[in-house]
């Protein structure tokens, strides 16, 4: 498949996914019993004023036939109009523009940290004896099973309360970023290490590694030239999933460290049942996932154009 055809297919697939997500949300709003206008304005408990409800009806075209409403909704989404957050009285797109960079930055740093950590652990595990490997295995499983909200608390307890090295609250400084990033990165590193260790030990014990040694290459050279590539590939394939789990984690981590971001905005929107805000954020994170998937697939194609590993 040529690169252009491949890119075309990716974009087409992404549009289909976004359309399906949007449609699912549209159906969900209609499924809530009672007045959809009321649902949009925070459910029956919100006691929205009559004017506010009327405004919502007008904005969403609720007095028109369902199909017209649906087309209008899609049309607005196509022009990046996610509606107005009723709890913050601002356009959703504007709020997201403010908080999204915070969260993406956090997730990217955590992803990088998780990669570095797991590469180090996986490389180290290659040299471990049986007991070492067993201990490493247990540590990975526990790391992968630790919930973010608790890990955050434990890290604060240790590094902030007891040692006083790092601030407990994200205050905008670099030190303030360390604990949130670690909290997000450690469980992911647990997952990735398990994956990389398997593929690394496969690569290092493979015939091509033996052939490389027989050509006179040192173990270290074989690790750099062959081992790393093979270890990175399956982990790279998981990046879409990893990023998505980091966004999930960010909701919790931003709450624990009182850090402004997409997660915190989402949480307060959910508590206020601010449907435009919530759907906007959900659609946006789907878009982020799709973009990340496309980037990683492009990278995979660069490392492995023949798809040898799949």
């Amino acid at each position: 498949m040529g690169t252009i055809a491949w890119a075309g297919r990716k974009i087409g697939g992404a549009l289909v996914v976004l359309w399906l997500v949007a449609t699912a949300i549209f159906i969900a709003i209609r499924l809530i019993p009672g007045d959809p206008a009321e649902a949009i304005m925070g459910g029956p408990g919100s006691q929205a004023s009559a004017e506010a409800l009327a405004a919502a009806r007008a904005e969403y075209g609720l007095d028109r036939p369902l199909i017209a409403q649906y087309l209008m909704y899609l049309g607005k989404l196509a022009t990046c109009d996610f509606g107005t957050s009723y709890s913050l009285k601002q356009p959703v797109i504007g709020i997201m523009g403010e908080v999204l960079p915070n969260t993406l930055w956090l997730a990217l740093l955590a992803l990088a940290a998780a990669w570095v950590l797991s590469l180090c652990f996986a490389a180290q595990a290659m040299r471990a004896n049986r007991v070492g490997a067993w201990v490493g295995n247990i540590v990975e499983i526990i790391a992968a099973a630790v919930p973010h909200f608790w890990l955050g608390a434990v890290l604060i307890m240790f590094f902030s309360s007891m040692l006083g090295w790092l601030p407990a609250v994200d205050n905008g400084t670099t030190q303030g970023l360390v604990l949130p990033v670690l909290t997000l990165a450690l469980p992911l590193a647990g997952f990735l290490t398990q994956l990389m260790r398997d593929s690394l030990s496969y690569a290092m014990s493979s015939q091509f590694a033996l052939a490389a040694r027989a050509r006179g290459e040192s173990r270290l050279a074989v690790f750099w030239r062959h081992g790393l590539r093979h270890a990175a590939l399956p982990a790279l394939g998981l990046t879409g999933w990893a990023f998505s789990s980091l966004l999930s984690g960010a909701v919790v981590v931003e709450a624990v460290f009182a850090r402004p971001g997409l997660g915190r905005s989402l949480l307060s929107a959910v508590l206020a049942r601010d449907i435009p805000m919530v759907t906007g954020i959900a659609l946006f994170s789907a878009l982020v996932y799709i973009v990340v998937m496309a980037i990683t697939e492009g990278l995979e194609r660069a490392i492995d154009p023949a798809g040898a590993s799949s």
Binding site: A214, R215, S218, A306
Partner: protein, 531 residues
Amino acid sequence: MNGQALITARNLSVSFGSTVAVKNVSFTVRAGSCLALVGESGSGKSVTARSLLGLSGGTATADALEVCGQDALSLSERSWQQIRGSSVSMILQDALMALDPLRPVGREIGDALKAHGKLPRAERQQRVIQVLESVRMPEPERRARQRSTELSGGMRQRALIAQALAGNPQVVIADEATTALDSALTALVLAQLRELKEQGRGVLMISHDLAQVAHLADDIAVMRQGEIVEAGVAAQILGNPQHEYTRQLLRAVPSGVPRFVPLSAASRPLAAPMQKDPAPASSALSANGLSKSFGKHAAVESASFEVPRGKTLGIVGESGSGKTTTARMVLGLQPPDAGTVELLGERFAPAHEPQRRKLREQMGAIYQNPLGSFDPRYSVGQLLADALSRGKSKRAAEYRVPVTELLEQVELSLGLLDRNPRELSGGQRQRLAIARALAPKPSVLVLDEPVSALDASIQATVLDLLDRIQVETGTSYLFISHDLSVIEHMSDNVAVMHQGKIIEQGATAQVFAAPQQEYTKLLLSAMPRLR
């Protein structure tokens, strides 16, 4: 015995912990000649070869081990790295696995030069192209930029040999370099190895196949269970073997052995093949104009053949020739685009599954890897009970008598009843697969590469078993293999497949003695023979 000794091993032993993999072996590899280490899996031949590069992974001890003028017993890791690739190099089995699928082959070849750091970058690239030219790689510049997965089988083998030659080594070790290759590729690799020998290099060939070794080796050492049981000049070993095990190995080579003559001394002697009434002209199985395409690729084109009752039709061809697709159409696993299959005179394919289900009991199948065809949850007894009860029960106790009969028929011990097939050896698994296929008392067995994964001596016993079953039960075989010598021994008639077509068929003796088609002649000329 004129060449200078490049590698000398005296009483070399290699152990892994308390397990001794190689015991006191002694040999010499000389310039311009080829020594073959022959043995079956687990004989320690690969470990021996790797210890000559310091890569055995175990502890090597010896009275003397000299590699290209250096005392290899006291070498540091750094000195070993100097030797590897530039004095001694290795060609491994299976080019697909031995070249990193993620890196261009040119880089892999260049790595051999980089490791020894002799050349600047531009010259290194030049040398890579030179080496590729020396192994007659077509379009070397373009191929150097491709990954092994993008190359054809032949080009891949050439690249594999090139990476071993880049450092211009004095000794090349070929570790099962021809195993699992089809005949054309085998011929290619053997020709390349011969060229290396003629260039004055020493070649150490590791193989399980005596017939292939016969082409090239000047000296042969036969290994079993870590020891060399017999060594000497090739003609001597092949013509006048002294050790019982060598004789056993030689006897196991099927090419040139007439039908029904046992290949293994351990096999029960056969009753004379039933020569009763050659009259029934009706065939057990016939295919008429079978065709199958996948997209634009025509896998099989208009294949027609007949398997007479009680006889064997061998289909021989290289990988990708359409053999397996043909087998799948015959077995009703893949509907043909055109053509029909008739079993015992009745239409078998294309047909509706419920209609032919009863007929299926008349045809069994044996695969190369039987383990994949067994339900992993079933024991040996359960598998057979399931086959006997037509899937209604898996309690071996209910079918004690027929299960026992089946196990005896395939010469498997009754003690294996409760074992899981995973715990069996390769030969035992194939016997179990045969027993299961025989359970419904079929008229026809379709065997797709049934012995290709087995060691020579095991292969011999399984082939003997198949012979005996045919004599005793009159079952017809459709025997598919890439291995000409197995086909020659097992088939009454043979069909040669090439690029999806049957290009030649006839009585085996006739086709093997006087092939009509160019391709068949080519195949046969590349076939390793002992007799």
